[in-house]
């Protein structure tokens, strides 16, 4: 079992419905490889640091999944390459501890984030936690 995370940038001009269609197409593609999607997130529309295909903006989508057969990742890359709505993608192999917690509902999410954060940091010095949070 291997864990991956993929970030891809979609065309920012897509309509809401069309965007969700493409996201589901890609998620179905990931599932069809025998992968189990652990976490997915939409980072929203962001300004690109430089132009890609003459586009200044892009919608960032982030997915983490586990894959049994790592050779299948090439098929996912092929899907991204052939999909004209994907401006850019990046597949990265990660360790199991890098997986994010599955998303809760919006209200709960904020609460869990607060409670989860210290749990992750428990391994590190507790005295540093407060200092970092203050900086935010």
């Amino acid at each position: 079992m291997v864990f991956y995370e993929t970030t891809y940038i979609l065309h920012s001009a897509l309509q809401e419905g069309r965007l969700n269609d493409i996201i589901s197409v890609i998620e179905n593609k990931i599932k069809s490889l025998g992968a189990n999607i652990v976490y997915s997130d939409n980072w929203g529309r962001k300004k690109l640091a430089y132009m890609i295909n003459k586009e200044k903006y892009g919608t960032y989508i982030f997915v983490q999944f586990s894959l049994k057969d790592s050779d299948k990742l090439k098929e996912l890359s092929a899907e991204f390459e052939h999909n004209p709505n994907v401006l850019r993608y990046l597949n990265i192999r990660i360790e199991e501890e890098d997986l994010m917690e599955p998303k809760q509902q919006d209200k709960q999410e904020k609460e869990t984030k607060k409670t989860e954060a210290p749990v992750v940091e428990d391994k590190l010095d507790d005295s540093n936690n407060t200092a970092v949070e203050e900086k935010k």
Binding site: A49, R88, L90
Partner: protein
């Protein structure tokens, strides 16, 4: 942008909770380690130890691929 002073002490050894921020998703944090032109600041300026400088460069390069950070910023523009 990247003024951490000329500290001789590695910021990641001082505050180990910063280590988990060496990640391309934390591109706003990584901005501290690149110049206005987009270059990665050498470790001897920032005081980052070799171990964490390696991690930083890798993550900055990932962020560049995703257009979260620039490859170059032309100072004549803007």
């Amino acid at each position: 942008m990247a003024i951490l002073g000329k500290s001789k002490i590695c910021p990641f050894k001082e505050d180990s909770s910063l280590i988990k921020k060496i990640n391309y998703k934390e591109y706003k944090f990584l901005r501290k380690f690149i110049t206005d032109q987009g270059k990665i600041i050498p470790a001897h300026v920032t005081g980052v130890s070799a171990k964490y400088q390696r991690m930083l460069t890798r993550e900055v390069k990932k962020a560049r691929i995703l257009a979260l950070l620039p490859f170059v910023v032309d100072p004549r523009q803007n």
